[in-house]
Assembly symmetry: C2
Homo-oligomer: 273 residues x 2
């Protein structure tokens, strides 16, 4: 998918919502916990209930790997289900991988070939070697961690480096030269919304994947105010707030309502209503 195609989908759906499929087995409603594949059953219901309001889905790999082989099977089935029923959706593997070149090539194979994801999140620590193998795939994306929403983002990400630039700014400056606005995005936490204005000076045209709205306390309005560009340029992720909105038999309906609520807020911000 190109950036313009993603933007077109955002306009059509009037939404820049990414639903985080952090499908924690411990939080899945009890009435489906005894299914043979509870995470997949849960995901299908969540996807069906929210797909009208979202442009992207982002399974966080940790929640699948914690279930071992069974988790990996359910992840593959989730991706296939979306591809079959909602082919327009942008699929992000939130894997935060990062390794030397020959190993990164294998990760790219895992997520782009073995599973048909559109994008993978990557840690930039080891430099360009970790990113370039992902950029070789046409229409696929690398999403680099820049400034994250967690408390200890200040341990290293905001350290001052050469020329007085913070580490995450140096990550943006250097890595924007490795790819294009059609294959590179950045993770910028919603809890850091005020810093989005400065980030937009470095990368005015790239898409940003923004977690941290909702459960982690970030404001959607601030993210739009400081981060939106002429082609939206934002995918705002919400996970727990949507998928665990309710733990009863109405969990999917509740998730759908929560997603719709966010979509309606996004519509206003998109079209300046």
């Amino acid at each position: 998918m190109t950036a313009i195609e993603l933007y077109q989908q955002i306009v059509c759906k009037k939404s820049f919502l990414c639903v985080g499929l952090d499908s924690d087995i411990k939080k899945i409603p009890k009435h489906i916990a005894n299914e043979s594949e509870p995470i997949f059953v849960f995901n299908k219901s969540i996807i069906d209930a929210t797909a009208a309001y979202a442009v992207a889905y982002k399974p966080n790999l940790a929640f699948y790997e914690a279930q071992g082989v069974a988790g990996w099977i359910q992840l593959e089935k989730t991706v296939k289900y979306i591809r079959q029923h909602y082919p327009e959706l942008f699929m992000i593997a939130d894997a935060k991988r990062g390794d030397i070149g020959n190993t990164s090539s294998l990760y790219a194979e895992a997520f782009f070939e073995k599973m048909n994801f559109d994008a993978v999140t990557l840690s930039p620590y080891m430099g360009r070697d970790t990113v370039l193998p992902f950029l070789k795939y046409p229409l696929k994306w690398a999403i680099l961690l820049a400034l994250t929403s967690n408390e200890s983002a200040t341990d290293f990400e905001t350290l001052s480096t050469e020329n007085g630039k913070k580490l995450y700014e140096t990550v943006l400056e250097k890595s924007k030269e490795w790819g294009t606005v059609d294959n590179t995005m950045y993770v910028v936490g919603a809890t850091q919304a005020a810093m989005l204005a400065d980030i937009r000076k470095i990368i005015p045209n790239h898409f940003l994947l923004v977690p941290g709205v909702g459960a982690q306390g970030g404001s959607l309005e601030d993210v739009a105010k400081y981060g939106m560009n002429e082609q939206c340029g934002l995918l705002v992720n919400s996970s727990r707030e949507i998928i665990f909105a309710d733990s009863s038999e109405n969990f999917a309906q509740a998730a759908g309502m929560k997603a719709k609520e966010l979509q309606q807020k996004m519509e206003k911000l998109l079209f300046k209503i």
Copy 2:
């Protein structure tokens, strides 16, 4: 496993060798490529042939994930096989994970509970949140990327940060306070051997996991000269050079000979013969 127990094993085996199970399906000898579980069959032979000369094994997750569910199954079987037949070995999941706290807890669950690894490699980019959940497990280890052996380590790892310290030095300084010498190790590439002397000034007593000897060009003698401490303090990894030493039906024997060759070099360095 504690640091002293690991050291005792090093003394008994006269080796600080870690065998990297980068079991690339494309490089596995042809005569086993048609097995239903070729990676597991390959790994078993490699392990049996090299276990006498090694103290640790390190599957790199990328090579298993690239095979999807089948790869994950063979990874689990490999860990179980080692646990059953060689319980003394130190098992490292080379996963280079790193995420916010609640997600890192799930990764810890995946590698320490679902699979019985002793240690996981982690990327420090997002700070302490990504590391602390792993340190809650008694006798388990977090292995943080510090200074890696790849060319683009200079993109960010060696950037000057506050107080003139390089990023990897700041990673060492900060993170050594999060855990102890009994639950934290660091990845330092063998191609950076001369920098080991400076690294030892910051972390004199921690174990270092050192990749890059052999195929990547690092020298074992230099690593020992600059990095060894009174309790060895080194696990030197070799992957391709051992496991793909030969592609014929004698591949395991060749791997064993290569591992033995490295063990004999290590014995001399350990006991200053």
